[in-house]
């Protein structure tokens, strides 16, 4: 079924790592290159993320994400290359536009950071079931109500989309013009959106009744079907990541 999720079910080792470790990894991928100077650390972390994505067999899904961000990154490179305040040395010129070394180096730094964050977030998003992620957040203290809202939205919005499609087909089968010029489309919009909104309101009421029946507002301490993530890796990995972050900060302070 369609779901608002990029999760890829490949069942690799990376998929089994607890989502808390993956969240910490994102934090580390942002923090460590920001704290330490130079490209090297960022590049090393990026290489590590890419390696993990390859191991998790989801690297192909990263390409469109990176491709989309390239549009933005290219504009960053162009603008910084031309107008960075510290620009001194001209590197090359294209038809009268002079690109400066300092600006290009600065923008390269930004690119490394953005791609780094993107790859680290991809590991979380592509290899973690949304419901597992939210469950682990609830375990960490997120309100179960908010957790429910987050996880149900991922499934209920696709449901509303398919309701919309059904209604569109129904109205079209009764002879309504839904395609053509802008005016035709605007005229078709109201009779389509009306039933969708009414339908969702009714459904929302019924669903909240059904949730009450299943003790959603219970004040008993919530339990979880799935056991808490165990295993050596899930014990050790968060500590290693935290230590790495602390070490980076200490290193920077001592320098």
């Amino acid at each position: 079924m369609k779901a608002l999720s990029l999760y890829q079910d490949k069942g690799t080792f990376i998929h089994r790592v607890d989502s808390r470790s993956k969240l910490l990894y994102i934090l580390a991928a942002i923090l460590i290159p920001a704290v330490l100077h130079g490209f090297t650390v960022g590049l090393v972390l990026m290489a590590l993320s890419l390696f993990l994505l390859v191991v998790a067999k989801v690297i192909r899904k990263v390409i469109p994400l990176v491709g989309f961000s390239f549009l933005i990154l290219i504009s960053v490179v162009v603008i910084q290359g031309l107008f960075y305040p510290g620009n001194r040395h001209v590197w090359f010129a294209l038809g009268g536009l002079r690109f400066y070394q300092e600006g290009l180096v600065f923008s390269a730094g930004i690119c490394v950071r953005v791609l780094n964050i993107l790859c680290a977030v991809s590991i979380l998003v592509l290899t973690t079931r949304p419901s597992d992620l939210i469950e682990s957040l609830v375990r960490l203290g997120l309100s179960p109500h908010l957790g429910y809202v987050l996880s149900s939205v991922l499934q209920i919005i696709p449901q509303m989309t398919s309701t919309m499609e059904t209604i569109t087909d129904a109205q079209r089968s009764r002879g309504m013009e839904t395609e053509g010029s802008l005016l035709v489309r605007i005229k078709a919009f109201l009779p389509l959106i009306g039933p969708v909104v009414m339908n969702s309101l009714v459904n929302t009421r019924e669903r909240s009744l059904a949730l009450e029946v299943r003790a959603f507002s219970s004040r008993a301490k919530k339990t979880f079907l799935n056991p808490p993530p165990g295993g050596m890796v899930n014990q050790v990995l968060p500590i290693v990541l935290l230590l790495a972050m602390v070490a980076a900060v200490v290193w920077r302070v001592l320098q």
Binding site: M1, A3, R129, P130, S131, I134, P144, G147, Y148, S151, S152, Q155, I156, Q159, N203, E206, R207, S208, L209, A210, L211, E212, V213, R214, A215, F216, S217, S218, R219, A220, K221, K222, T223, F224, L225, P227
Partner: protein, 281 residues
């Protein structure tokens, strides 16, 4: 033991003038299988929700009289407190999917997680509920990928997994084919035999006549009659309340065949067969 005691229950939905329930009183014993019949807008669903506490706690509105469920006064209890005693299954299976779970198995666990049931108890409860409703083979499917009938079985199973003492079903077989609804009725009868109190709203009159211990006939928010299926469906004024007797009773009424012992019309196929054979001899 009296499981449900309702006295003079009156209820009016907010922003309406007319009473949806007009002073209803009845008692239900533990382990009884009660069928509720009546036209649209006769108050069947409102009554179901009153047993769960959704009326008045969810809707608000005007409330009078008292509902005692297993000794708990519904008006003074919270819905989550009642949810441990009463399970309610609605008609539309699509809106009963919580939407936050990715598999049927997890969906059944949703209510148990909220109640705080220990993890080692969850699995056997979920598995037996799935087996009872015949959906074990879908346990790893996404709930939204099921057909209407499968979803309806899942909705019933997810309430049964919570192991309520009373289960209230509001047209639970609307999406099911005849064989499917027969299976669901048999599953529910099994629960009833194990001591669960069952209250079911249903338009499939033949099934109600066959499985219920007693039938409640509602009309415009009031109880017309609450008696055995034979007595209810042998009434001469059923048409006034928009109800048709089971087809076997109607045939026998046309032929003038009654059960000689009780003077009532037969309710089930087997019963009708016996009476017709007797009559010919």
């Amino acid at each position: 033991m009296k499981k449900i005691v309702v006295e003079g229950l009156k209820y009016r939905y907010p922003l309406t003038q007319d009473l949806a329930l007009k002073g209803i009183s009845f008692e239900i014993e533990q382990g009884e299988f009660v069928g509720i019949i009546g036209q649209n807008l006769s108050g069947k669903s409102t009554l179901c929700q009153a047993l769960m506490g959704l009326v008045p706690h969810f809707y608000k509105g005007g409330y009078g009289g008292s509902v005692l469920v297993d000794g708990l006064n519904v008006e003074r209890s919270e819905i989550c407190e009642l949810a441990q005693k009463v399970g309610l299954v609605f008609q539309n299976p699509f809106t009963q999917v919580s939407g936050s779970k990715m598999t049927v198995f997890e969906e059944l666990a949703f209510g148990l997680e909220n109640l705080g049931v220990a993890r080692d108890q969850m699995k056997p409860r979920i598995e037996s509920a799935m087996a009872l409703l015949g959906i074990s083979r879908f346990s790893q499917r996404n709930p939204f990928d099921l057909s209407g009938g499968q979803m309806q079985r899942m909705a019933i199973a997810s309430v049964i997994a919570m192991e309520p003492e009373i289960i209230v079903l509001d047209e639970p077989t609307s999406q099911l084919d005849p064989q499917g609804s027969e299976e669901v009725f048999q599953a529910i009868q099994q629960l009833s035999k194990n001591g669960m109190t069952v209250i079911m709203v249903e338009h499939k009159i033949e099934k109600i006549a066959r499985y219920s211990d007693r039938v409640m006939l509602l009309h415009q928010g009031a109880i017309v009659d609450f008696d055995t299926p034979e007595r209810i469906f042998s009434r001469d004024d059923l048409a006034d309340y928009g109800i048709e007797a089971p087809v076997f009773a109607r045939v026998c009424r046309g032929l003038g065949i009654r059960n000689p012992a009780s003077g009532l019309y037969p309710m089930t196929l087997d019963d009708a067969y016996d009476q017709v054979v007797n009559w010919h001899e």
